[in-house]
């Protein structure tokens, strides 16, 4: 299936063929179906009633009525409706400013809520899509019963259908909860946030204008990366490249330092004849087990200006002034802060790699070493010629996912430096990654449009890396053969 799609010339045809097939099926089923099937095109479940499968029919009918009621009645939350009105609202035209006040009664109109309009618009679109899928399935179900009848088979009963859900269609049963949950709490919100990148939803601008309303504004926010227009335009124009390049530098250093550090630690711990392996492992697992907001905040305070570490350095006479390791003050060194977060990140990340590679190290076929030993290879040589290649070969997928993970490494930066040292006048400081910048811009500043732009760029970067490497990885291409 997958390989066919990859062949170039057929791509377009491949894309359109399911759509063509879909309409062809619709036509075929209408022409070839029974009266019940034909009626199903209008009333859900009609075909099932026709075949005396009342329960199934009733479910379909209920779904139709439910969604139609939802569309027509437009239940509203905080004055923002769902349903067909939500679709009309999606354009954000015809907004109501609010602020009409009746001093006598205390009634106050609060105006349109643009973000809810967009959100509910998408929910409604999802409901419509679902409606048509049910519509199609309802026709299909009826048509299938027609066909069964034609060849003299009894149409499946509801019991049989349910049983199928535990067997041939077991995947539907198993995936439905995840699909519902992911649609509502992951897919829709993500689409919503992407949409905000194309609006003027920026609390500062809106405060300045004294309004609660915002509008669609096309790709203006993306242009701001180059032109620097808009309220956070200067910020995004001047800080985007520095933050982006630091994000990459960070991800490369953080990934490699933890990776090789972890392998070396694993080798040390698994050294033959070493006693107390368990104790050492436990020590390192501790840092994984303890919530990061605890351990990282501990490190932050430990390294702080008046923390024990600086006190120690000063007592030893190595420095006369406390050193701002983590760039918490504007005047602190940016380079030092960058180096420090990478070092502290090793403290966080090395135990992971150690745990992971320990298992792999033990699985290296012993005969490889035997052969090398017979050839008189030294320990170092064996490490570079056997151990390292083997481990790297097996853990390449991890290397990639940890690289992507580091690009999105929110906790380490946010808890350690808070992005500092700050650049006066900007949100994004010296150690801010795209994600922490995104957080500051959206959550602290309420500039949802700029935040969404940063988020989309972050996504594009991680997605590109992941797709390129994942597509080429053995795990993906040989998945089927592997089984």
């Amino acid at each position: 299936m997958g390989s066919k799609a990859k062949k170039g010339p057929n791509k377009v045809a491949n894309f359109f063929s399911p759509i063509g097939k879909f309409f062809w099926n619709l036509r075929r089923m209408f022409l070839g179906g029974s009266a019940g099937t034909k009626l199903s095109y209008l009333i859900f479940g009609a075909g099932n009633f026709y075949h005396k499968r009342y329960i199934k029919g009733a479910i379909f009918l209920l779904l139709q009525v439910g969604i139609l009621l939802f569309m027509i009645l437009c239940p509203s939350v905080n004055g923002t409706p769902y349903g067909y009105k939500a679709l009309l609202n999606l354009g954000l035209g015809n907004l109501e400013e609010g602020g009409q006040f009746n001093p006598a009664t205390g009634e106050f109109s609060t105006g349109s809520d643009c973000k809810l309009m967009i959100l509910f618009g998408f929910v409604t679109i999802a409901a419509i899509v679902i409606y048509f899928i049910i519509w199609y399935k309802n026709i299909q179900s009826s048509y299938k019963a027609d066909m069964d009848k034609k060849i003299g088979k009894k149409p499946t009963t509801i019991i049989e259908d349910l049983q199928a859900l535990l067997d041939q269609k077991f995947h539907i049963t198993m995936l439905t909860p995840t699909c519902i949950a992911a649609l509502v709490f992951t897919v829709l919100p993500t689409i919503f946030m992407i949409a905000l990148a194309f609006t003027t939803y920026n609390s500062q601008d809106m405060n300045n204008l004294g309004t609660n309303l915002f509008h669609w504004n096309g790709i203006e926010n993306f242009k701001a990366v180059f032109t620097g227009e808009g309220s956070l335009g200067v910020e995004i124009k001047n800080r985007f490249l520095p933050v982006l390049s630091w994000t990459f530098i960070w991800a490369i250093f953080a990934t490699l330092s933890c990776y090789f550090g972890g392998i070396i630690l694993a080798l040390l711990i698994n050294k033959k004849g070493l006693k107390g392996k368990k104790i050492f492992r436990t020590v390192f697992i501790m840092t994984i087990a303890i919530p990061q907001f605890i351990s990282l905040l501990a490190v932050r305070n430990l390294l702080g200006q008046y923390g024990p570490f600086n006190a120690m350095l000063m007592n030893l006479g190595w420095t006369s002034q406390p050193i701002g390791f983590l760039g918490l003050n504007t005047s602190d060194s940016e380079i030092l802060a960058k180096v420090m977060v990478i070092i502290v990140n090793m403290w966080v990340g090395i135990p992971y790699t150690m745990l992971m590679t320990s298992g792999i190290l033990m699985n290296i076929p012993a005969d490889l070493y035997e052969a090398a030993r017979v050839d008189g290879a030294s320990t170092t040589k064996m490490f570079f010629k056997i151990t390292l290649p083997y481990v790297i070969f097996i853990t390449t997928p991890y290397l990639i996912s940890s690289f992507v993970g580091n690009i999105n490494s929110f906790n380490t930066i946010y808890l350690l430096t808070g992005g500092g040292p700050t650049h006066v006048g900007y949100q994004a400081g010296g150690t801010d990654l795209l994600v922490t910048w995104l957080y500051k811009v959206t959550i602290d500043q309420g500039s949802y449009n700029t935040g969404a732009v940063i988020g989309i760029f972050t996504f594009l970067i991680t997605a590109t890396i992941t797709l390129i490497t994942y597509r080429r990885s053995k795990a993906y291409n040989e998945e089927d053969t592997f089984q």
């Binding site: 509910f120 067997d167 995947h171 709490f185 919503f192 840092t287 992971m356």
Partner: protein, 311 residues
């Protein structure tokens, strides 16, 4: 000649080995200390009980690593303290977190297992597209969607509901566990290793897919079940951003413990003298989680390794 040389060589080899072992011990020892220092320091801070000469309690970070005086005052203050107008807030936060963690653990584990099983052992149309889709969605920064989730939950009354502030807890559980199913990759990697032959032969015996899942796969999947449960159980104890948005800044009664502890350090308080109490809270939170990790270490390692190899 070779007969004479032989023992000497063995001897020098063993000495070399001893030296290298010694060096290893030294390196590991130093590293262990480095790794433990921040943790030890937090524990020491939790038991620190220092006063100004006039009797004012010092709760801030101080430059001395070892406390000059030990005591339990931080713990008593923490447990009896009123934060954000909530009496005995810390106990309530602990209980909330426990409830959230347990429910999240059950739901998330179930979702992950079911998706992973489908992706690994069932053949159906749209399997690969689903996997790709899950991967793509997983690449968006999580808190981009936080605000939208808040408003969706609010529209069904599961947060920001003044009549039932406790519903926010349900909302948070939903927000935590809803996306869990999309993180099936590690569990799938585990299922992939279970031979297909087992499944095939069971099918020949007339087992339904459901039965295969329940009777064959689940018993074999114990390590990955424990791994997933551990991960989703510890999640709520560690998150300090999502929980505050979903439960609400005004809803301190129903915060999770991490939100509460985080606010102690970073909120604007009349009293910023809370570092040692924060440390005490950290110790209380860390104890159960670390214990769990220690007991389930084996499974954790297995999960991590599975994830690494399969990506």
């Amino acid at each position: 000649m070779s007969n004479i040389l032989q023992p000497k060589k063995v001897k020098s080899q063993s000495r070399n080995r001893r030296i290298s072992l010694g060096v290893t011990y030294a390196i590991l020892g130093v590293m262990s200390i480095i790794w433990l220092i921040p943790l030890i320091w937090i524990v020491l801070s939790a038991f620190r009980c220092e006063y100004q000469p006039d009797g004012t309690f010092i709760g801030t970070v101080t430059s001395n690593f070892f406390p000059r005086q030990f005591g339990l005052e931080n713990f008593t203050k923490l447990f009896s303290g009123t934060y954000y107008g909530v009496d005995n807030a810390f106990l309530k936060w602990m209980l909330n977190t426990l409830i959230i963690a347990v429910i999240d653990c059950l739901i998330s584990t179930f979702l992950v297992l079911s998706v992973a099983y489908c992706m690994s052992k069932l053949k159906f149309r749209l399997r690969k597209p689903f996997m790709n889709m899950a991967m793509i969605i997983g690449l968006f920064p999580g808190f981009m969607s936080m605000i939208a989730i808040y408003f969706l939950l609010k529209s069904i009354g599961l947060t920001g509901n003044p009549q039932h502030p406790e519903y926010s807890v349900i909302g948070l559980v939903l927000a935590y566990s809803a996306g869990a199913g999309l993180g099936f990759q590690i569990a799938k990697g585990f299922f992939d290793v279970i031979p297909n032959a087992l499944v095939e032969s069971a099918k020949l015996d007339g087992c339904t897919n459901f039965k295969i899942f329940r009777r064959i796969i689940l018993p074999l999947a114990k390590p990955i079940i424990i791994y997933q449960a551990l991960m989703s159980f510890t999640g709520p104890w560690m998150d300090f951003i999502f929980a505050k948005v979903i439960i609400g800044a005004d809803n301190a009664r129903f915060w999770t413990v991490s939100v509460g502890l985080y606010s102690m350090l970073f909120g604007t308080h009349p009293d910023t003298n809370l570092f040692t109490q924060f440390a005490a809270g950290c110790v209380i939170v860390a104890i159960p989680i670390v214990t769990l990790f220690m007991f389930l270490q084996k499974y954790y390692v297995e999960g991590v390794t599975a994830g690494a190899v399969k990506g």
